[in-house]
């Protein structure tokens, strides 16, 4: 195992750039995902890049008139403890409070949640519904990728091995609907069986769901129906459309049937003809 401990962002990017192809460096932020499988891992071939000395540069977030910029090391707890962020982007705090439990919330980062590429990530649907841009930086360039185009397949992303997520940007908009619901097997320390974030703002509807596809995904058919003003009279009507957007599976945590049908029920209760 090799552990690199850069003290500046530039040094970190240099390390990433210098890593030989086929032996990429693994950035460590909060480490809460990486350490889960620690003792099952053959560590000889692990090359870790410890980001903990970059807190001054990467942890602070910025809330402005135009939007919120989370840093590459901003934690859930940073968001939970900010009243301003809570007021401007309420779904972020709501989702953050449902990640793991307090220990994870204080260490776990939003960028790590994206970086881990789990289809069950709880932070990703709310950021996606807020139309987030992922800011990737390497020695060569700084580029922005819409979060809903960040994933290209199960555990596959557009991030190149020499890039670091240094920020996540979400625009401030006038929202008429914003709603998040996580279904876990218990109140805390639960990996989502399914989750969904819904936002309607001046740019339209965004419905982002986790644990119902190989990646956290937008439900574009449903969004289109909502944009067309379709009024769902029955939960089955909504589910028929939703089933084109999601492809859940049976696994240790739940069943495909449960995931799709509960997602439809929750959305119907929220958005259907008799919803609230």
């Amino acid at each position: 195992m090799r552990l690199l401990t850069p003290t500046t962002l530039n040094e970190a990017l240099e390390y990433l750039a210098a890593a030989p192809a086929g032996e990429p460096l693994i950035p460590v932020a909060g480490g809460t995902d990486l350490l889960v499988s620690w003792h099952h891992h053959a560590k000889d071939d692990w090359n870790l890049l410890d980001l903990s000395r970059l807190h001054d540069t990467l942890q602070p977030f910025r809330l402005t008139d135009t939007g919120l910029q989370l840093g590459g090391l901003t934690t859930y707890w940073d968001v939970i403890s900010s009243e301003e962020v809570g007021a401007a982007f309420p779904l972020l705090s709501e989702a953050a409070r449902q990640v793991g439990a307090i220990q994870i919330q204080t260490r776990g980062t939003w960028a790590g949640n994206i970086g881990n590429s789990s289809p069950a990530a709880d932070g990703v649907p709310v950021m996606m519904a807020y139309d987030a841009l992922v800011v990737l930086q390497s020695l060569r360039e700084r580029r922005e990728v819409p979060l809903d185009r960040y994933y290209t397949g199960y555990k596959q992303t557009v991030r190149r091995p020499d890039e670091l997520i240094v920020a996540i940007h979400m625009p401030r908009r006038r929202r008429t609907v914003e709603w998040f619901h996580k279904v876990g097997a218990r109140a805390a320390q639960a990996i989502a069986k399914l989750g969904v974030a819904v936002v309607q703002d001046e740019c339209g509807w965004r419905v982002a769901a986790n644990s119902v596809a190989p990646v956290v995904c937008r439900c574009r058919h449903l969004e289109a129906a909502l944009a067309d003003g379709v009024a769902f009279a029955r939960v089955e009507d909504l589910q028929a459309i939703l089933s084109k957007d999601v492809s859940p599976i049976d696994d240790l945590r739940s069943t495909a049937r449960y995931r799709e049908s509960v997602l439809a029920r929750l959305l119907y209760d929220k958005l259907g003809a008799n919803g609230d």
Binding site: V183, R186, A187, R257, Y258, S261, V262, R265, D269, N274
Partner: protein, 744 residues
């Protein structure tokens, strides 16, 4: 010192400060780490074991069945379980080869580098499936044990009964999820093999080692380290683990430690027996139980282990705390090719009590009677008999207990509120459910007589006393309770009473720490041994029950004794003797199944979210009659923990089997409820002292796991107007049930 004082737990400080030493905390210089290569299939013949050439195996100690000096048998009720498979494997994860190495990292790599090739054989994965000859692996029919309990003649009654109501109920396996995983350390000291570990029953381990290695008892010493929870999981399993560690330590000539990680622990160790219970009940027009036919089937797993006793306790409790003159309970525990199911808090009773308490609600619904009224009419009254013919002699008023629990839970008012909510709310439904039940304290039937437990209380030269028993404190408070009992009996301060760490080289065999027996049976023996100690120092007033030294203080008397008996041991002794009033016939299963029972009425209130089909328990009242509460805080802790575990079993804990073994063997995928999922658990006690326990105390360790599951599921049925027959009721299952019309 009063026996019922709410003293702080005596082991609490060390655990709080982190100075208590669990087995993995024991740093032994030169220790090697041990691990097992296990079967990848449910059943088959071992063909070949391949050791990957990339590893230098000379640096490892490798043990297989050929290294076994004596009988390859883990001694228990029957000696059918091998410590290492030789030839045939009977379940997934059955140990085949053991490895040890000084580096735990190297060991883990090596464990991945051994491949076992097996010719699969047809496996039994469901005990209900009809057998074909190639599936038979035990006796003529794979039945480990069969029990019949008969009273009156049910067949006669069924023919004439106004109502006959049937139902089948099913419960799943359950994992113990003790905080500390299983582990032992074997090291040779002064020519003797010392096994230290996280064990519930040091003498079981000693017996197993003696049998396996064919050596005398004093060749071994078994010492209990601090134990982080057991719940039955560390009753029989540690015998196998200890054998493995000693095999490796012998061959390596080094101390060997085996500590399972959570995944291995969950995958390979015992679980609660899955059950299928069928009820057929004849009821008259007034709701009186005329006859009960109950069929109990347990999945035993691949070896006998403790299954016959689990079945015994299950069948004895199967008819519930009700009076019925005509009863036939038939129980079977059968082999499957799963890792052996084993001891788990409640020991068969939670399974059968779930069935009967659900069935009471089903009967009530069928005959159009309130389920509470049905219970009131049938609860045992003084002078009536249980299914085994045991006369209910206690003064406990079971109907009163039920009514008080209803009052405490505000039952009527809340149900009225629910009616309104259930009619108007878009997706929430609420309901209330009740269970009335009992649990026998101590070993079943003649068990205590066979155990013939012994206890000593030593008077030390400095005037303090030391209680010597084999009882282990797994967190349930044994040490504190035994301290209180001795301090009370001897008139000493708590600080003047020591409790010995169970160590087979210095404590007598007071039996295993299981079966709700420690406080009642062993506690009573401690009190008797205290009396004996007082007599030995010659200062018994002999006036009445409480013996007190006359004139001088007891401590002075003990010190004085040592002055005149220099270098000698001063021991007060007591041995279990069966009370004359207890009669039990093991052959016919008639008589006093237990010295006494604890009784309870639990009320659960639940809320169901129809969007997610998730059930939340929002209030819980646990009222029980336990003889005497020896320590309020500890007793409440036992009840609250049991209720939490029962709620987990009912709603959350889903052991997913693949090839007969648990596949969701991680804390993240096997869901036990957290504090945020639990309701306020409101605990209340009543006390009707029993002559069989110290200060009148009965056992309480298992009672609280019996009632929550039926109370919770009855409440869900009340909320949704459906009849649910099996647990765990996960949201996924409830969704399926709501989607089907059957409901069950």
């Amino acid at each position: 010192m009063s026996i019922a004082a709410d003293i702080a737990r005596v082991d609490g400080g060390a655990k709080l400060a982190g100075t208590a030493r669990f087995v993995d905390d024991l740093a032994v210089p030169g220790v090697w780490h041990g691990g097992a290569i296990r079967s990848p299939v449910a059943r088959g013949r071992i063909k070949h074991i391949r050791f990957d050439a990339s590893i230098n195996w000379n640096k490892f100690v490798v043990v297989d069945h050929r290294d076994i000096p004596g009988p390859n048998e883990v001694a228990l009720i029957e000696n059918d379980q091998p410590a290492l498979a030789a030839g045939e494997v009977r379940h997934m994860h059955e140990p085949i080869v053991l490895l040890a190495h000084p580096s735990i990292g190297q060991l883990r790599r090596a464990l991945r580098a051994v491949q076992v090739e097996i010719d699969p054989l047809p496996a039994v994965l469901d005990p209900r499936r009809p057998l074909t000859p190639e599936l038979v692996q035990y006796g003529p029919d794979n039945v480990f044990k069969l029990i019949d309990i008969r009273k009156g003649d049910p067949r006669e009654v069924f023919a004439r009964a106004p109502h006959v109501i049937e139902g089948e109920y099913q419960t799943g396996a359950q994992e113990h999820v003790y905080l500390e995983t299983q582990g032992v350390l074997a090291s040779r000291e002064d020519g003797r093999m010392v096994v230290q570990g996280s064990v519930q029953c040091p003498y079981y381990v000693l017996d197993a080692l003696t049998h396996f290695f064919g050596e005398p008892r004093d060749a071994f010493r078994v010492v209990q380290t601090a134990v982080g929870g057991g719940f039955g999981g560390k009753e029989e399993y540690p015998s196998l683990l200890a054998i493995h560690a000693v095999l490796l330590a012998n061959k390596a000539g080094k101390p060997v430690k085996i500590v399972y990680d959570r995944q291995e622990d969950m995958a390979v160790t015992t679980k609660r027996h899955p059950s299928w219970v069928r009820h057929r009940t004849a009821v008259d027009r007034d709701g009186r139980l005329l006859a009960m036919e109950i069929d109990v089937l347990l999945d035993g797993g691949a070896y006998v282990t403790l299954s016959p006793v689990v079945l015994s306790r299950g069948t004895i409790h199967a008819a519930g705390p009700y009076h019925c003159e005509n009863t036939h309970i038939h129980g079977e525990v059968r082999l499957t090719n799963s890792p052996p199911y084993g001891a788990f808090r409640g020991f068969g009773a939670p399974q059968t009590l779930f069935a009967v308490e659900r069935h009471m609600d089903v009967i009530a619904e069928r005959i159009g009677m309130d389920p509470l009224e049905l219970r009131r009419r049938n609860l045992l009254r003084k002078g009536q008999t249980t299914a085994t013919g045991q006369v209910f002699r206690e003064d406990t008023d079971l109907v009163g207990l039920l009514d008080r629990a209803l009052q405490l839970s505000d039952y009527d008012q809340r149900r009225n509120g629910h009616e309104q909510l259930n009619r108007t709310h878009r997706y929430l439904r609420r309901g209330m459910g009740v269970a009335t039940f009992y649990h026998g304290a101590g070993f079943t039937g003649a068990g205590e007589t066979h155990l013939a437990s012994e206890v000593q209380v030593a008077g030390l030269p400095d005037g303090r006393v030391e209680v010597l028993t084999a009882q282990t404190d797994m967190g349930q408070g044994t040490t504190t309770i035994l301290t209180q009992i001795a301090a009370d009996r001897l008139g000493l301060a708590v600080g003047e009473v020591l409790v010995a760490t169970p160590d087979t080289s210095r404590v007598p065999n007071s039996g295993p720490t299981v079966a709700s027996r420690t406080a009642m049976v062993v506690g009573k023996l401690v009190a008797k041994a205290c009396d004996d100690l007082i007599e030995r120092v010659g200062s018994n007033t002999g006036d009445g029950d409480v013996a007190r030294p006359k004139g001088t203080s007891l401590q002075d008397a003990i010190r004085a004794w040592h002055v005149t008996h220099d270098g000698k041991h001063l021991l007060g002794c007591a041995k279990y003797r069966k009370p004359a009033s207890i009669e039990w016939d093991e052959k016919t299963y008639r008589g006093d199944a237990y010295a006494c029972f604890s009784w309870a009425a639990y009320v659960a209130e639940v809320e169901v979210d129809l969007r997610t089909c998730a059930v939340r328990v929002i209030d819980f009242v646990a009222l029980q009659e336990v003889g005497k509460v020896l320590n309020q805080t500890l007793a409440r802790g036992q009840i609250q923990g049991g209720v939490a575990q029962g709620i987990g079993w009912a709603l959350y804990e889903n052991v997913l089997l693949e090839n007969g073994a648990m596949k969701n063997c991680q804390m993240t995928n096997y869901i036990i409820p957290g504090s945020g999922d639990l309701p306020p658990i409101r605990v209340y006690f009543e006390e009707q002292p029993t002559p069989h326990g110290p200060g009148g105390a009965k056992g309480i360790g298992e009672l609280p796991i019996d009632g929550p599951a039926p109370a919770v599921i009855n409440a869900v049925c009340d909320a949704l107007g459906m009849s649910i027959r099996s647990i765990p009721l996960t949201p996924e299952r409830l969704l399926d049930l709501l989607g089907s019309d059957a409901g069950g």
